[in-house]
Symmetry: C2
Subunit: 227 residues, 2 copies
């Protein structure tokens, strides 16, 4: 089946990484793909635009079926190939409820508080224009968010929605890996540290690890010493 | 089953309205509920916090199962009660792919471009501090987004993901209803106008219509004459 699949993706993009982990977990490693370069605006290229008029990655095709939104691809793959590879959304009612809750909790909060509010402030505001009180408020919100997940992991002693790796981890973990690259020191979050090491070692995560992260360190680390 | 369900909700909150439409569509009208008042900070009350430490609504319980994130409640209800009431996520692979795509496309873009970027700019920036070029850029992005959906509706001539009402409409329509309340003139979007009238008339939407919208007009209408 993997030979009928095609993914356009960018290295280090969290929206791309999520379905890439799912593809590996479901046993579709070896799917056809094209790594696009954001700096060359290849996501606005004709081949992407033909399938995705928004000109964004991930852009994904499974035979004739096109699905482009990151979370939609994840759910499409799980619902369509439920019995293949790792079951990422449980069928048991209570377990599924917990996985769905943590999936959407990660989607709603991690992106907003760690990436859009905090990290983008560093990206988009020149050092001389940054207000320390603004930074402090955003750091506080990011910390509070991380503390919540640290507590969840303290309860499960395993993955974010229970004893098994699930779609909630697919939607949560890339934000932690990205934050670590941005200087987050996990020593202050011991449950998350153990979790990070365990998930990082998964073959699905290793196979989909952003290639440019392997090659070069991050150019700056705004989270270091702050969170 | 509805007698085992309990929802804390706020009037006019899009995250609350989505699962409320689902509850009606799935035939759970009459579920127990409590309308909280944001201005009294009732979402930070003990009864909500006990179930939802984030102190947010919607907060939802189905027997012993607690699900709080808006999108998670929607998916939980559909997956758990697939055969009850309206089927909101199709089982056919291609149809499901389209519904998932439009669900997440609405979640990712409508909230960001219409609410967070544009509307909050009006809410949070005093009139004398607003920059016309900033407003113009945000209005342009909101218009472009609406044009996309206008085109989708031109293709389907029915609902946003095809001929049938689906979860994609649940995740999309409240943004349109909210925008209309904020002054959006649908005359410029004829497909969306027909769609708005049709969905507004659905019993599930009528039964869950924000009560304070019936009682009082919006205090201001920033979209009027702009989009």
């Amino acid at each position: 089946m993997a030979e009928n699949m095609f993914l356009f993706w960018g290295s280090g993009s969290i929206p791309c990484w999520k379905p890439m982990i799912v593809l590996e977990e479901k046993g579709f490693g070896g799917y056809k793909n094209k790594l696009i370069t954001f700096s060359n605006k290849e996501h606005k290229g004709e081949d992407v635009l033909k399938l995705n008029p928004r000109g964004q990655v991930p852009t994904f095709k499974d035979g004739d079926i096109v699905v482009n939104e990151s979370n939609a691809i994840c759910e499409y793959l799980e619902c369509t190939y439920t019995d293949k590879g790792t079951q990422l959304i449980p069928t048991d009612k209570a377990k599924r409820a917990r996985v769905l809750q943590r999936m959407h909790e990660a989607a709603a909060n991690m992106q907003q508080k760690l990436v859009l509010d905090l990290l983008y402030y560093f990206f988009q505001t020149k050092e001389e224009d940054r207000k320390e009180e603004e930074v402090a408020k955003k750091v506080e919100a990011a910390k509070e968010e991380l503390d919540r997940w640290e507590a969840y992991l303290g309860e499960t002693k395993a993955f974010v929605a229970g004893p098994d790796f699930s779609m909630a981890d697919v939607w949560f973990y890339p934000f932690i890996a990205f934050s670590v690259r941005m200087g987050l020191e996990l020593e202050k979050f011991p449950n998350m540290k153990a979790y990070y090491d365990k998930v990082t070692a998964r073959p699905s995560v290793q196979k989909s690890w952003p290639p440019h992260w392997k090659e070069e360190p991050a150019k700056f680390s705004p989270f270091k010493g702050r969170i």
